[in-house]
């Protein structure tokens, strides 16, 4: 089933046109890495899909256009780049906020909600500090708590904006595996990523966004070439194989960005 269908999406921030007609679809089972240099429009694309930023064009989520906020929240969860926890509430309560779309009016969380909360905390390995105030945790721990919040929402589509930033290597890899598993279980995941190595290793598909347009879309091995990385990012990169996986490591600035070779 098509979870997300974006067609000719355009958006502006002030006078600057940030998205210039972006079209793509996300099917069940896909883990899409959204990559591209700073300012390419990755965050704006996610926000426009969610209706958080004004845009023109068509966005269909789960086959529906312009859903009510609550109905949309049942289909798509969002992990914003800014990690905000305003009050010193416990980790478990933060994760429980992910159940909000499933609780009408003043309903209290039931057994199903508790199960989702516990499962999300177990997945992100944060049960040991479930009762601690989330504001007292380290940045990486807070990031994991907020990811667990998005997982507890149990929406078939997850949009994550730089979810791996600030995590140590072990938790970065663990997170990518969790997203890959979600996709394998039939969800769709779209994540903005800056770590090309992680993107190459775990995503089923990569989309390169540059200056508001999609310049490449396909499996990692097709999308990530030294020439394209030089054109897009202006870097020289090492690409290799290790244990059946693609290794990508930018190592220097390209001498003549824009002149592929």
């Amino acid at each position: 089933m098509t979870l997300l269908a974006v067609s000719d999406l355009r958006a502006s921030l002030g006078r600057r046109q940030v998205l210039r007609g972006v079209s793509f679809t996300v099917e069940e089972g896909e883990f899409v890495g959204l990559i591209g240099p700073n300012g390419a429009g990755k965050t704006t694309l996610l926000r426009a899909i969610l209706g958080l930023s004004p845009s023109q064009g068509s966005v269909q989520i789960g086959g529906h256009e312009r859903l009510k906020p609550r109905e949309q929240a049942k289909i798509v969860s969002y992990l914003p780049q800014e990690r905000e926890i305003a009050w010193p509430v416990t980790v478990e309560r933060v994760v429980a906020l992910g159940r909000a779309p499933h609780l009408p009016g003043f309903a209290v969380p039931g057994g199903e909600d508790q199960a989702a909360i516990q499962a999300a905390m177990a997945r992100m390995e944060i049960e040991s500090f479930a009762q601690r105030p989330a504001t007292e945790l380290s940045g990486g721990e807070q990031a994991r708590v907020l990811i667990a919040r998005a997982l507890a929402q149990e929406a078939p589509l997850l949009l994550a904006d730089e979810p791996a930033a600030g995590l140590d290597p072990a938790h970065q890899i663990a997170l990518m595996k969790i997203f890959a598993n979600l996709a394998r279980d039939g969800s769709g995941v779209v994540a903005c990523l800056h770590d090309l190595g992680l993107a190459a290793r775990f995503c089923t598909r990569l989309i390169i966004l540059e200056a508001g347009t999609i310049v490449a879309d396909g499996p990692p091995r097709a999308v990530l070439t030294p020439e394209r990385l030089r054109d897009t990012y202006g870097v020289a990169s090492f690409l290799g194989e290790h244990e059946g996986g693609l290794i990508v490591q930018p190592f220097d600035l390209a001498d003549h960005p824009g002149h592929g070779g």
Binding site: L52, A86, P88
Partner: protein
Amino acid sequence: MNEALRYKLVLAVLSIGVFALFLVSLATGPAAIGFADSMRALFSSDAYEIGLIMREIRLPRAILGLMVGATLGLSGAVLQGYLRNPLAEPGLLGISASASLGAVLTIYTGVSLAFPLALPMAALAGAGIAVLVVRAMAGGAGGTLSIILAGIALSAFAGAMTSLALNLSPNPFAAMEIVFWMLGSLTDRSMVHVWLAAPFMLLGWVMLALTARALDALTLGVSAASSLGVDLRRTQFLAVGGTAASVGAATAVAGAIGFIGLIVPHILRPLVGSMPSRLLPASALGGAAMLLAADILVRLIAPERDLKLGVLTAMVGAPFFLWLIWRSRRTMV
């Protein structure tokens, strides 16, 4: 202790406190009436002096103390949650200042002498205009910063116009009356004031209470809350409109009483696990308790001098505010 149990305990203790302070407020006043006599007189229909004092003077004062306090506590908790700013308080939106300006204008023009109810009505109108201005300035869904800035500008303007009224006041008595009114007080209020303010306060409370779930989600920021299905426009309408209705009505009958809306949510937040939704009922009860206590104190400290309620709350509140800044600076380092 179990978190849910502790929350219920906090609410129970606060409820008992409010009830006790309400009775003490009824029993406090210049007329020396025994507690048992005063309660008996309250519920009898005879027209003796004690019954009149109880029903016409002390009962409205106690009811207004409870309602104004609950309004300040509740709206303070909602605004802190909505703006995700622990320094937010009901006065921040410019509603108190605009309501005060409306009231002051009736004193300045002498209308309040000819028609006493014009004063609270003009104050309500001031609050209504303030909410329209703030909402227009804040515009769309998210902009909490524009709300704060619009509120500051509006407060400054209303303050300047109030000063102008004082500046040009026709005679020293009018100036004196304006100053005294602005200090905030519950002295000599009647049941008419209660009936005038109650509908607006109740409406405001309902609107504010409906923000509870959205405030919890806003803990994660505007974007995350919106992605969780929170309707930001609706939340803004309820938070700002509810504050205008309830705080406007409170200011209309009691004048500007500061710091309760700031302090009460702070004191109670750690006791309810910091959840914004849980803070709302606790803060409403806490505000009622604190205002009733303050109104009892002004009558006990200086029975002859008519010590103003707003003076007392500011005297206690301002040092607390300093302590708050000192503490937040320490945690930021």
